[in-house]
């Protein structure tokens, strides 16, 4: 926790304030390692890792506009689809393959996770927790598809096509032998020590 807190201060709050999982990921990644970020967006995380951890960074992003901004930021980002794109990389080409807040948007999440562990020595996966109490409450009270701070979209324009809780992810890893090395559960920037599936907004898993 102390280490993670130290990292938080290094990250530019203006660019990363909305993404508490980045603090954890920034803490996990070892200096000088090879990192692939799937769904890298505008390359904020990779740019930070290049600057502060001297990593060899690569990114994949489907959106033309976001890839453009990532490249303009100096990140070697590639416009492509992560569901298909991972097949090109050789085995263990990276030390870490990162999938931050994107698992729920992929068409075939299990394939993506397996490919991540083929291409990378370790995989870092973060996702919004569909089991969080606010989602449960919203569903229970309104009887509609939840629209909360964590899941801000309407059901018809949401990029999220799979909804998973922390328990769902743990079960998947058990059923398909995806080795979990560490878990981080967050509400805002605070680590959640108990009842993560109820209290954590975001989960970060280190697999490998």
């Amino acid at each position: 926790m102390g280490q993670a807190a130290a990292v938080i201060h290094q990250i530019q709050p203006t660019t990363l304030a909305e993404r508490p999982d980045f603090y954890v990921i920034g803490d996990i990644v070892k200096p000088g390692s090879r990192v692939l970020d799937l769904g890298c967006g505008e390359g904020e995380l990779l740019a930070w890792l290049i600057e502060n951890k001297r990593v060899m960074a690569r990114g994949v992003e489907i959106s033309s506009a976001q890839v453009r901004h990532a490249i303009a930021r100096g990140v070697s980002a590639y416009q492509g689809d992560i569901d298909e794109g991972l097949a090109d990389y050789p085995d263990k080409a990276f030390d870490y393959v990162i999938l931050s807040q994107t698992l729920q948007e992929t068409r075939a999440p299990l394939n993506v996770l397996r490919e991540m562990l083929r291409v990378g020595r370790r995989a870092i996966v973060s996702f919004p927790n569909f089991g969080h109490w606010s989602v449960r409450l919203n569903m229970a009270l309104n009887g509609t598809a939840p629209k909360t701070k964590l899941f801000p979209y309407n059901w018809y324009n949401s990029p999220n096509i799979h909804f998973l809780s922390i328990n769902d992810f743990e079960e998947l890893c058990r059923d398909f032998d995806l080795p979990i090395e560490r878990r981080y559960f967050l509400a805002g920037n605070t680590r959640i020590p108990v009842l993560p599936n109820l209290l954590a907004q975001t989960a970060v898993f280190l697999l490998g």
Partner: protein, 371 residues
């Protein structure tokens, strides 16, 4: 920025086809200043009918360079930071030795006795120029279309001499469709009686054939959408069809104008030689194994394609990118949204500038950190 074309002369160059050309001259322009450790040099490689005048206002013609919107103070290729070089290609007709040049052995223009040249030969001559300027390693080689082929060839032939390459709207080998369009252009020239087997330098050049070749070329550089926006079915200075074979449509007028204008500035034999060099271009020398061509490459790549480019379609750029990923190369790629077709790299430059600037900046930072 007033610029003047310069010229370097070398005793000879040996060519991929097995012959030697001697002597050989190369026309080039430079913009900005070479820094003390010679680490800020960028080579711009021009497209098919381009020339050495890429930026600034020409001292000779008073005209701006063909990529003046990309090169200059504060622009994507920022001449306040970088030393930018652009040379005319081997086989060309704007200062560098080509079929219209005088063969020293005969005192007459080479015409069709000029040896068939390749993209690799063009790049070899560029390397000789860069060596003669005392530059060991270029920061970047960048070009669009045939310029992109040269940039790729630099990465394969001289991987230790270039830090990054930016191939734009290009391919790693010419496709059947690309060869087909070039062949139509060549046939238009060679079936013009004025072509005279290439020996026209002391008489009327094959202007009609060359103009038709250029008209075909212009169609391939635009997109269905950009032609619809620019011309639609608009009539040229009339309200009704003429019911004859004069000019009815704006698009006819435009193509004729561009065709005729081209005749004044380009040599028909250069058209033949340069299109042949494009058609022979295959980074893999026919094996199709692009991963082997790139095997020794640790150059950074920024590959750019345009969504409406049907002459050099995005899939050709994506093939390059996929292979670079397979060998774990350092590659950035973006398929930029544009309606301008193949011409986009020359005219639709706002987003292109954004990524080129960022990519160059990060590469220059890497070079500085390594030093």
């Amino acid at each position: 920025m007033i610029v003047e074309v310069q010229c370097k002369r070398f005793d000879n160059i040996s060519l991929e086809g097995g012959t030697t050309l001697s002597p050989v001259e190369i026309a080039y322009e430079t913009y900005g200043h070479l820094n003390s450790d010679r680490s800020n040099a960028i080579l711009i490689t021009h497209a098919f009918t381009g020339d050495a005048h890429a930026a600034g206002i020409s001292h000779e013609s008073g005209k701006p360079g063909w990529w003046d919107n990309m090169i200059g103070p504060g622009k994507a290729f920022d001449t306040d930071r970088f030393f930018v070089i652009c040379s005319n290609v081997l086989g060309g007709c704007q200062g560098t030795t080509g079929p219209s040049s005088i063969n020293a052995a005969t005192g007459k223009p080479y015409a069709m006795s000029f040896p068939v040249i390749t993209i690799r030969d063009m790049v070899r001559l560029q390397k000789m120029l860069i060596d003669s300027l005392g530059i060991e390693k270029l920061l970047c080689v960048c070009g669009g279309s045939m310029g992109g082929m040269q940039a790729l060839e630099w990465a394969v032939s001289y991987p230790d001499s270039v830090r990054c390459v930016i191939p734009i709207a290009t391919t790693w080998r010419h496709s059947a469709q690309q060869i087909a369009f070039n062949e139509v252009g060549r046939q238009a020239i060679m079936s013009d009686p004025d072509w005279s087997d290439g020996d026209y330098y002391d008489k009327k050049p094959p202007g009609r054939g060359l103009a038709v070749a250029r008209m075909v070329g212009h169609i391939t550089y635009m997109s269905d959408e950009s032609m619809r926006e620019k011309f639609g079915r608009k009539l040229r200075e009339k309200e009704k069809f003429g019911f004859d074979f004069g000019i009815d449509f704006e698009v006819e007028s435009y193509l004729r104008y561009r065709g005729n204008q081209f005749v004044g500035r380009f040599d028909a034999n250069s058209y033949l030689y340069i299109t042949k060099a494009e058609d022979y271009f295959d980074l893999t020398n026919g094996t199709g194994k692009l991963n082997e061509a790139f095997v020794t490459v640790d150059t950074r790549f920024l590959v750019i394609s345009f969504t409406s480019d049907w002459l050099y379609p995005s899939y050709q750029s994506q093939e390059i990118v996929r292979v670079l990923r397979r060998i774990n190369g350092d590659v950035a790629y973006c398929d930029l949204q544009s309606n301008y077709g193949h011409d986009a790299f020359l005219v639709d430059i706002a987003e292109q500038s954004e990524i080129v600037r960022g990519f160059l900046d990060s590469t220059a930072r890497q070079v500085a950190q390594a030093a």
